[in-house]
Symmetry: C2
Subunit: 187 residues, 2 copies
DNA sequence: AGCGTATAGTAAAGCGTTCAACTAATGATA
DNA sequence: TATCATTAGTTGAACGCTTTACTATACGCT
């Protein structure tokens, strides 16, 4: 390969700002969600994906892909969510290896209760701070990065994570990270 | 407060793409760094900050702030890094509560060995995929988010994390996330 | 000096993630 | 139908992070 190049000052600044912003933002969102609703953000996301699925049921693998999660991580998480009574596992009759995860009514209720405050956090810390143009720039940049991630280990375990990129295309309308589609819309 | 508002389709797309991209990107960078050099990214960052400090020494608190880390987390991390022989703790004579962390020669060597491949990863997955304009957009967006994070819990423990924002201002030249300033420049 | 508060740093428990190993069922091939 | 690779999912150990509590020192005020 060509000899390695460092980052110039411009790139360095962008990289460090990005690193710090994403790190602190994620930590803050996690903390607020935990504080306000007692749900870790990772689990919240799982509940959201389930809430958007038909009948609120998904194969474990599909759920793992949809939530950008490894199978192992999802398995542990579902165990926890099951203990909380928010999800139940169901076995699959056509493929006896398989398992479904189903969102319970309690789980849905917990999600509905947590969503407004979480959306408010996302708005306050990110969305409402950016102009419409910046938001669009951020989307394009994110999709570009996602496309580049394809073919790496990041997608090795979740080939369907591509759906995230494709969801950015018109046609497959994406739904809120907050159970809106499921009728919990507050507005 | 005003009634809570969901995200519109535009915002939703941006938010989800951003979420997926940052999550997968971080995971991938972490994985590659771990695979190529056996260093978790969080620890790598600590080594970088130390390598940039005068005499490669920093007070624990300063190091915590510089690496956007809680004191507790840093304390644990330094314990690990000490076990690896990459950092040593030194006591402070003027403030007996205080402690310094010093980067050892071995630590510096480990950092120098890890840097090229890590920078290459950052380039391949992020920097080189974006135009100069996009990179600048990303920097502005990140700095905006960082500014908004000020005053939240995220900054409660690290008031000096502001330095990250300010570093974006000309004057305090920021240095590479890779020990370049310390003379390990490969190019 | 003496007292109260703030600061520096560490320690321990609990939690979530990763990694590697493992079980079980499916599917493809001969 | 016997075999072997693949896929679905789970499990346990190791690891790092967070939270809370704690020790020790410094500072500020009277």
């Amino acid at each position: 390969m060509t000899e390695s190049r460092w980052l110039d000052e411009h790139q360095q600044r962008a990289w460090r700002s990005f690193l710090a912003a994403t790190r602190l933002l994620q930590a803050q969102l996690d903390r607020e969600l935990q504080r306000d609703s007692g749900i870790p953000h990772a689990y919240y996301e799982i509940l959201v994906r389930l809430s958007e699925a038909p009948d609120r049921v998904l194969r474990m693998s599909e759920l793992a892909d949809a939530s950008e999660s490894s199978r192992s991580r999802l398995s542990h998480a579902v165990t926890r969510l099951e203990e909380a009574g928010w999800v139940v596992r169901e076995s699959c009759s056509t493929d006896r290896r398989g398992a479904f995860a189903r969102l319970t009514d309690e789980g849905f209720a917990a999600l509905a209760a947590a969503a407004p405050s979480h959306v408010a956090s996302v708005r306050r810390l990110l969305i409402d701070r950016l102009t419409g143009e910046q938001l669009e720039q951020l989307r394009v940049i994110s999709d570009t990065v996602l496309a580049g991630l394809r073919g790496t280990d990041a997608f090795a375990h979740c080939p369907q994570a591509q759906a995230v990129c494709e969801a950015a295309e018109p046609g497959s309308v994406t739904l809120p990270e907050s159970a809106e589609s499921a009728g919990v819309t507050p507005a």
